[in-house]
């Protein structure tokens, strides 16, 4: 799975360039993101604007990333979730767990507020 990254000060934007994060590739996604965390990145924006389909496996691996960052005083926010994927987050109540923003600009506002406190 190809992932595009972009550093903005202390925030790393991670954008999976794939149409789906699901059972067949979600572990690969998690491994790549954990590598980025292990390189010292503690504040992540995951931009899901290219992803048309997410299943419970993809969701599970995002939870895994959230848990790892929580143990390292880090943060992960999601942005660009497509309409067809919002129901999955709602049914599992993960829309109450993750900070979710419509786009990268809004996600950066979360960090600019949080990191200046």
């Amino acid at each position: 799975m190809e992932i595009e990254t972009k550093q903005e000060n202390s925030v790393l934007v991670v954008k999976p360039l794939t149409h789906s994060i699901e059972a067949s590739n979600s572990r690969q996604f998690k491994t790549k993101v954990i590598d980025l965390i292990n390189q010292g990145n503690r504040n992540l924006v995951i931009n899901l604007s290219e992803v048309n389909f997410i299943d419970s496996s993809g969701l599970g691996n995002m939870i895994s990333i959230l848990k790892l960052l929580a143990t390292q005083q880090g943060n992960v926010v999601l942005c660009g979730i497509k309409e067809e994927n919002t129901k999955l987050f709602h049914l599992t109540r993960l829309d109450q767990v993750f900070s979710i923003y419509p786009n990268e600009a809004e996600a950066f506002k979360f960090f600019s507020t949080k990191l200046t406190k």
Binding site: S20, E22, A23, S24, F53, D55, S56, S57, L59, G60, N61, I63, S64, L66, K67, A70, T71, E84, K87, L88, L91, T92, R93, L94, Q96, V97
Partner: protein
């Protein structure tokens, strides 16, 4: 439109899920134009067949999974048939406590086991039988037909 039954067979490999999803989506789109219902069906079939591959067939390729799609006047049924290990959890949705978990405790959030919970949320009726070595998960979804 007459009742239409379409059968699809895949091998027990996760890499076969995407073409399966696309096939099921295409078949159901002959009957449904509601995008939300199509998405519900697509996610449910993904979760159901992933469970068969990972649990019934223990992630081993080389086993057949049969999916029978029935386009009926007011509903679509999807039957997922395998001959792997029986999954007792499919008969008891109450085993899935996802809706009751304290979501403020991040470290307690489940990273797996959400598939069956989602299927029950997305489908109108779910049934599971296991008889003579054949496991059958039957999903029912009410539909809005084309005018």
């Amino acid at each position: 439109m007459d009742n239409i039954v379409v059968k699809v067979v895949i091998d027990s490999q996760l890499s076969h899920l995407e073409p399966l999803r696309r096939a099921i989506h295409g078949i159901c789109a002959c009957k449904i134009e509601n995008k939300e219902i199509l998405s519900d069906i697509e996610l449910s079939i993904q979760e159901a067949v992933t469970n068969v591959i990972n649990h019934a067939y223990q992630s081993q390729p080389g086993h057949e999974i049969l999916i029978i799609v029935s386009l009926l006047p007011n509903e679509i049924t999807l039957e997922i048939v395998d001959s792997g290990l029986k999954n007792d959890k499919k008969t008891d949705v109450t085993q899935h406590k996802l809706a009751e978990i304290d979501i403020t405790d991040i470290q307690q959030l489940p990273e797996s086991g959400m598939g069956l919970f989602l299927i029950h949320q997305l489908m109108d009726k779910v049934a599971y039988t296991s008889l003579d070595g054949s496991n059958r998960l039957i999903l029912h979804k009410s539909i809005i037909t084309r005018m």
